[in-house]
Structures are given as structure tokens and as C-alpha cells.
């Protein structure tokens, strides 16, 4: 069976009855706001090889899901994987989010329309050609517009072990390419123009002469109070103030270019020097 087409999961499946919440009926306006699918970048994996798997979320227009980083509200999308013994599944790489600022200084980092998280899957060296690796992905998310609806789903992916798998084409390649375009690069690929300077518990971030900068803290660092105001700038210097004694700045720096163009870098810096 060709790999090239992702399958959008049918919406109904088994609804978990939870408390007083009614099951979504056929006329439920909130059904199917997020359509999840999973696919691999190649038509299989070699013994000992690694293939990128995309977990794709198609999000209803006008609605958003939450980036798993610092948010004032909502719930960062979660992907938990289960794989046969010997198969190693890496942490999801999420495309950079957008800032979503609501009245009351409520700042969230969100994904709109569609997002694909990429996970590296490595087959065991002794995997048999011709066998199939059954992977399972437990997804949970919150999707919001004016209101929010939680959702969860388990997807499975059967990954054939092959001598020389082909690259996926079509929609799969397109979606994986779009995700890669919004993945941050390591800071050393940004040359010397990105600089983090600590002044006490204040981190100043500069990117050469670039004026328009935004910072999206991920889960690996300290939370940054006041980010609704300080998290984006047109002055060329992001001033991010922490209220913890040993702050760690960790997240994605976006250097906005003209139009929709931008560059994205992963930054991790502890007070007293980058680690």
C-alpha cells in the first residue's frame, strides 16, 4: 500500500463519556474541529535506520491549538508514543507557534489552521526486513476559538521494515516540508549575530541589526512573567525579565523578515553564561 497519502481519521469512533458532558452528536457544531493523522516521511525504515514521522493536526479555520511551551491558558498539545521493544521514538519537534494575545494580558502560543509535529523513529538493528513495526500515538489537545473544546485520540502507524524505502511524495512530503520550514535551528547556525546578555535576572536578546524579534519560551526553561508585553519587540532588543533566582532562558527566537518570512533559532542560556 503506498505511503504517500495521509489518512484523515474518521471523527466518530468511540467517544469517552465523561461526566455531564454530552456525547457529540451528528449535529454537534464542535465535532471534528481537529482532524489528526499520522504518516511517515518514507515508505518504511531500514534495520537500524531512522525515519521521520509526522503527526498532523488539521485545525478548523478561526480555531487554534496550543504549543507545548509557556502559555497563560489552554493546554499544550501532547503526543505520547508506544512502540515495540527496541524501537526508539524521539521527542516531538514542534513548528514555531504564533503569539495569541487576549484581553486581560493573557498570552498564549498557538497553532492555527494546520500543524505537523515531527518525531524521529529509529528501528532496531536486528529488525527483520519484511516485518512491520506497529506504533501508537496518544494525542490530547485543547482547541479554542471563543470557547474551548478538549479532544483526544489514539492513532496507529504500521511502519514496514524495508531494505531501501522510498521517499513519500504528495501531501505527506508537503506537510513535512511545511513543518520543517517552521522548525527552529540550533543557535550556532545563526552565526555570531544572536547574542544573549544577562543583567542580573534580565536577559537581553539581540540578533545583529534585526529589529523585529519574538521569543517563545518552551518547557525547558524558566517561565517569564510579563511576556505579553516583553515577548515581542520592534526595537531590536528583547528584554526578558525573570523572577526566579537561577533563570534559564529556553525557547525559540523568531527574527521576523519582510512579509511572512522569518528565521527561527533555538536558544538556551542560563544566567552567568550560555550552557
Amino acid at each position: 500500500m503506498p505511503l504517500a497519502q495521509p489518512i484523515t481519521v474518521a471523527l466518530s469512533a468511540v467517544a469517552l463519556a465523561l461526566g455531564a458532558a454530552p456525547d457529540p452528536g451528528p449535529d454537534d457544531p464542535y465535532a471534528d474541529l481537529v482532524r489528526a493523522s499520522v504518516f511517515a516521511e518514507r515508505t518504511g525504515v531500514e534495520p537500524g535506520g531512522t525515519v521521520w514521522v509526522g503527526v498532523h493536526f488539521e485545525i478548523e479555520d478561526g480555531w487554534h491549538t496550543y504549543w507545548p511551551g509557556q502559555n497563560d491558558s489552554g493546554f499544550g498539545t501532547r503526543i505520547e508514543t508506544a512502540a515495540p521493544e527496541g524501537v526508539v521514538v524521539g521527542a516531538p519537534r514542534w513548528p514555531a507557534p504564533k503569539r495569541y494575545l487576549a484581553p486581560g494580558d493573557i498570552l498564549d502560543h498557538v497553532h492555527e489552521r494546520a500543524v505537523t509535529a515531527l518525531l524521529p523513529v529509529t528501528a532496531p538493528r536486528d529488525a527483520e526486513v519484511g516485518s512491520v513495526l506497529e506504533l501508537s500515538f496518544d494525542l490530547s489537545w485543547l482547541v479554542c476559538e471563543d470557547v474551548c473544546i478538549p479532544g483526544w485520540e489514539t492513532l496507529t502507524l504500521a511502519l514496514p521494515v524495508r531494505e531501501s524505502p522510498d521517499n513519500a511524495t504528495g501531501l505527506v512530503a508537503e506537510r513535512i516540508g511545511a513543518a520543517r520550514a517552521r522548525l527552529p535551528r540550533a543557535i550556532d547556525q545563526g552565526g555570531t549575530r544572536i547574542a544573549v546578555t544577562w543583567r542580573g535576572s534580565l536577559a537581553e536578546v539581540r540578533a545583529g541589526g534585526a529589529k523585529n524579534l519574538s521569543f517563545y519560551p518552551d518547557e525547558g526553561g524558566s517561565s517569564i512573567p510579563g511576556l505579553a508585553t516583553s515577548g515581542t519587540t520592534t526595537s531590536g532588543v528583547l528584554r526578558l525579565a525573570f523572577d526566579t533566582p537561577e533563570p534559564v532562558l529556553s525557547g525559540v527566537l523568531e527574527i521576523h523578515g519582510s512579509g511572512d518570512t522569518s528565521e527561527l533559532f533555538l536558544i538556551r542560556s542560563a544566567r552567568g553564561g550560555e550552557d
Binding site: 471523527l11 464542535y30 489552554g74 471563543d146 474551548c148
Partner: protein, 210 residues
């Protein structure tokens, strides 16, 4: 290769909000901060009764504030029959000097601030205590509340001693196994310092008025 689904669930129920007004820079309103005096306020509940924070602390009560929304999934998960996180705590403290006040800071023309939707939710969630109406969002912003449920504990001196989440499960599905509010109130009643004075609250954004 094949693709499949094992399960999927979506709540038909509505929830959450995103909305409101930006806090004006240089706002002279007092701001709540852990370790400091909790800003006093008077609000009216859905039955028309006025509640003043200091009237409870003055008579020696520990006060719990719960920011409330009738439709938020993170609130709802604590009012299911199998959880009843909030009501179970309230029941456990019956006869003790503890007052639990819920506050709804959603704008009044939003579903979450809508009177009828709120009244229905009280019945459904078995809420018998007061829910205070803060339609202008003034008290919510004074406390820096951004989500529902967002929790505050105020000791009998009127000092804010806890601000954060109700518990340690940030999902919309399950209640946690550590209840920070239960722990903080027990410590205050025992005359001990609150061991975890702040946590990161989780929940739906409050639909503030512009």
C-alpha cells in the same frame, strides 16, 4: 502501511473563553501578591447577596477564591460526579472556619458570564455556595486571575498565602493526586506556613470585558 483510530473523544460541551480588556498601564488598583495583604473587594452573588472579603477574614475565616466559568472544560472536570474536587473540599471543611467564594469575571454578554447559563451550571455541578459576579473584571484583574479555575487562599490576617492551580493535573480530563488548595488550607488551619505558596495555574482564559 495502514492508519487507524482506536478512540476519539470530543466534548460537545462548550467551554473557555478568551477575551476582555487590557489592564491599563500605570493602573493604580492594588495588585494581589503572595505574602501580602489580599486586596479587599465587595461583589454581589447570583442570588443578590453582597460579599466583602474582609468581612470573612475579620471573623477568623480562611477564604478560598475560585475563579469560575460554567462551561470551561478545566472547571467541569472538577465538578463531575467522579471528581467533585471543589465540593468535596468544601464538605470536608464543614464546621471549620473556611469560606469558599467563587468569582466569575467573564463579561456579562458572553455565554460564560450569562446569568441563565451560570444558574443552570450551579444545579448541574451541585454548587450551593455563593458565586460572585465580576462582570467588569475589576476584581479578577486586581488578583491577576487569567484562567478558570485559578485559586487563591487568604489567611485570617487577610494575607494571600496561596495562588495557583487547584491540583497537579493540567489536563482537561483528569483530576490530580495532589490538591494544592486542600494542602494550603490544612496548613493555615494548623497554624503552619503554607509549604507550596505558588504554582502555575492552568485552565481556560477568562473572557474579560473590553
Amino acid at each position: 502501511m495502514k492508519f487507524g483510530t482506536m478512540k476519539r473523544a470530543l466534548f460537545a460541551a462548550t467551554a473557555v473563553a478568551v477575551g476582555g480588556a487590557l489592564i491599563a498601564a500605570g493602573n493604580a488598583e492594588p495588585k494581589a501578591a503572595v505574602g501580602q495583604a489580599a486586596p479587599d473587594f465587595t461583589l454581589t452573588d447570583y442570588q443578590g447577596n453582597e460579599h466583602t472579603l474582609s468581612s470573612y477574614t475579620d471573623k477568623g475565616h480562611v477564604v478560598v477564591l475560585e475563579w469560575y466559568s460554567p462551561e470551561c472544560p478545566f472547571v467541569k472536570k472538577h465538578y463531575r460526579d467522579d471528581t467533585q474536587t471543589m465540593n468535596n473540599l468544601i464538605t470536608a471543611w464543614e464546621g471549620k472556619p473556611v469560606t469558599w467564594l467563587r468569582v466569575n469575571s467573564a463579561k456579562l454578554d458572553h455565554d460564560y458570564g450569562n446569568r441563565e447559563i451560570n444558574m443552570k451550571s450551579f444545579e448541574k455541578f451541585k454548587i450551593t455556595g455563593p458565586v460572585l459576579i465580576d462582570g467588569t473584571g475589576k476584581v479578577g484583574k486586581m488578583y491577576g486571575a487569567k484562567r478558570t479555575p485559578e485559586m487563591y487562599v487568604i489567611d485570617t490576617n487577610g494575607t494571600l498565602v496561596y495562588h495557583g492551580a487547584i491540583d497537579n493535573d493540567r489536563s482537561a480530563r483528569d483530576a490530580g493526586d495532589v490538591n494544592y488548595v486542600g494542602k494550603a488550607v490544612a496548613e493555615v488551619i494548623a497554624g503552619q506556613p503554607v509549604s507550596t505558596p505558588t504554582t502555575n495555574a492552568y485552565g481556560c482564559s477568562i473572557k474579560y470585558a473590553n
